[in-house]
Subunit: 90 residues, 2 copies
């Protein structure tokens, strides 16, 4: 890793560290597809604005997010920033 | 399955049948996140309109789609209709 960000805030907010410690993951549950995809659309705009994009999957009201900095080979401050933005948007 | 749809058209269009034959899958590749998420947004509007939603994952320009009719326990004509719409939107 090129940076060693402090993970405590996002872990406290319900994110979990992947087994290889190179990514953080969170599952959001919404009442329906409109709510789930609405969240994804808001998050997508910030992701594109910051040029830092999530790996994510969606099934109806469920959105599973994985964040990592592919170019850095692990977690950076950019992941924490996007994680906290996604929490604020959810 | 409550229906036995003719899969030939979607298989010819690059969809593949899952091992348990209850779903069809396709991977779309776009040049960037804007193109990929733009496709997802267009498809999401049709999915919601038809009340038939994809299971899908996205990583930057990649979109992996799985279609099945959960309520029917397998593939129905609704999956083929959405598959063909997604191909038209991609």
């Amino acid at each position: 890793m090129s940076e060693t960000p402090d993970l405590a805030p996002v872990l406290a907010a319900g994110w979990s560290l992947s087994a290889d410690q190179r990514a953080i993951c969170k599952t959001y549950r919404f009442p329906d597809f409109v709510a789930a995809f609405g969240f994804m659309t808001r998050a997508a705009l910030w992701a594109e604005k910051w040029n830092h994009h999530p790996d994510w999957r969606n099934s109806y009201g469920l959105v599973e997010v994985t964040l990592t900095s592919h170019d850095a080979g692990g977690l950076t401050a950019r992941d924490l920033k996007l994680a906290q933005k996604m929490d604020a948007l959810a």
